[in-house]
Assembly symmetry: C2
Homo-oligomer: 316 residues x 2
């Protein structure tokens, strides 16, 4: 295993993820924690970062590149949004150095779509985009990045030209915890598995209705009362309806050429979206989101010159 050269951090609202990378971008050490922006806002971003760096024995002068909510106005230091359209270089060039730190720490900016009729912002997903540039460097592409707030991105010849956000993950969370549907879902508010029949049926229903799930949500409650719907099936139904509605809506708005979608997602959520996109008749190219963000952070480090010396030096 090679020596770690840089630290890469994806710092979200409620999550913190750290990789130590060698000069070729390979992962030497990794750490996950719940010390997101909400925690760091109280304890301090600097002390939390140093604590995690110490836990993986990072050297005192190792530089750190960060993406995500740490760069929000309410984060550590604001890395102002880069306005669309922009290429990946435009994003990586917007990195802001955190002042008064014992080491070189840069935070990457988010993206802003400053259209009067469709304002939108992202923080974190732009770095995933930097990590998958080879997939959209030529031609027009539509990229689906599911999550708490799903982002659907339009790119042309490597330039990000537009994006839109669906609240799908958060929608599932608030409806399952705070609406009348909580009586139907109980504590079964976990993600469905892709082959779950209730998920497939609900996703297909949402797609066949062009994404209009208005009258379908309360039916989950009624099906509990009249048809003895079980909590697991209720959760899978809600998940299928919301994901199907997102895909129908995004396809109508973004009109992906040949219904080809680049899906950037990890783990069970990635499998679920891949299944749902295939139900919708889309051709899916699936990239791993964790790898994408790590690669994107490494690309930023390269442009900062942090890995240049190592690349020039012949490796043993």
């Amino acid at each position: 295993m090679s020596a770690p050269t840089i630290a890469a951090v994806d710092w979200g609202t409620s999550s913190f993820r750290l990789w130590l990378l060698d000069a070729a971008g390979a992962t030497v050490a990794e750490r996950r924690s719940g010390d997101g922006m909400l925690t760091a806002g109280g304890e301090g971003f600097g002390p939390i970062l140093e604590k995690h760096l110490a836990s993986v024995e990072a050297s005192a002068d190792m530089p750190v590149v960060i993406c995500g909510m740490a760069g929000a106005r309410q984060g550590w230091i604001e890395a102002p949004y880069v306005t669309l359209p922009t290429g990946i270089d435009g994003i990586l060039a917007g990195a802001v150095r955190v002042p008064d730190q014992p080491r070189d720490i840069r935070i990457l900016p988010g993206l802003a779509q400053r259209r009067d009729d469709a304002p939108d912002v992202m923080r974190g997903e732009e770095t995933q985009l930097a990590g998958i540039l080879p997939l959209f460097v030529s031609g027009r592409h539509v990229i689906c990045m599911p999550g708490t707030h799903s982002k659907w991105v339009e790119a042309a010849d490597g330039t990000i030209t537009g994006f839109a956000t669906w609240l799908t993950g958060e929608h599932f969370s608030v409806l399952s915890k705070h609406s009348i549907l909580r009586h139907s879902l109980g504590d079964s508010a976990s993600p469905a598995l892709p082959g779950n029949p209730a998920f497939v049926a609900a996703c297909s229903e949402a797609l066949s209705q062009g994404g209009d799930i208005g009258p379908s949500l309360f039916r989950i409650r009624a099906a509990t009362l009249l048809q003895d719907l079980k909590p697991d099936a209720a959760a899978a139904t809600l998940s299928g309806l919301l994901i199907g509605a997102e895909i129908a809506s995004a396809r109508r708005i973004l009109k992906p050429a040949g219904d080809k979608i680049i899906l950037v997602a990890s783990g069970p959520l990635g499998s679920l979206y891949a299944a749902a996109l295939k139900l919708a008749g889309c051709a899916v190219l699936h990239a791993d989101a964790d790898e994408a963000v790590c690669t994107g952070l490494f690309e930023a480090a390269k442009r900062l010159g942090w890995t240049a010396r190592d690349f020039e030096r012949p490796r043993p």
Copy 2:
């Protein structure tokens, strides 16, 4: 003012409303309280009812007719759902007497649509329907009953043939309190006024998108960040989007003949829906929901024979 003859109660999940009516159905006294099913489940339905009856000096033998969640399984005593299709007589005939009470107390049933593909239930709205029977006694009609859970009802020649539910009111509540949109709405989560420009713009946008507001919800948050959207306008926007989406969805599914809608709603919510339905190009016949439920309860009392003697006696 004539002597009170019967007590009529609309007993919801979180609200209790009582009217004393004379033999002709005119209101002699009225009382509102927050002693809904949730409170009554703890303190007991009987004691709460008697407390409110005492406060309006109802006689010890005055009969009481009740509609709403008091008849749910988790309510006072279950008044089993009447299955569609049904006429109003079928609903009123389903009243269940509460046993072991010092006075005659009847609870009206709710309605169930037992369709495998579209199960649905209502409790309370069926009694409003009983109160507006003259409006739909002949011909096919679509009836909009907005609220926490908006009900859209199809009726043909006085028979209820189908209905569907939109979570609009609850959706507004959970998104404004529990989602990222709470940062944009702040404490301004009050209903918009019908002429509010942000409400009109958002409702028109939702209608022009055929009700697809998927990418519009997060734009409220982005507009706060990029366009300095104010909390009041954010709340009006969310309200306009959700109500516009409901109307677009319901029209597509129910296809009201000549876009004529019977709207059953009271107060600010009624004005808001009337404005939204007009934006959608619908012809609106607006009935007051409070009057409708009171009239419906009186119709039930008439069929129970509780007012018959009085009608036979010539009035002074």
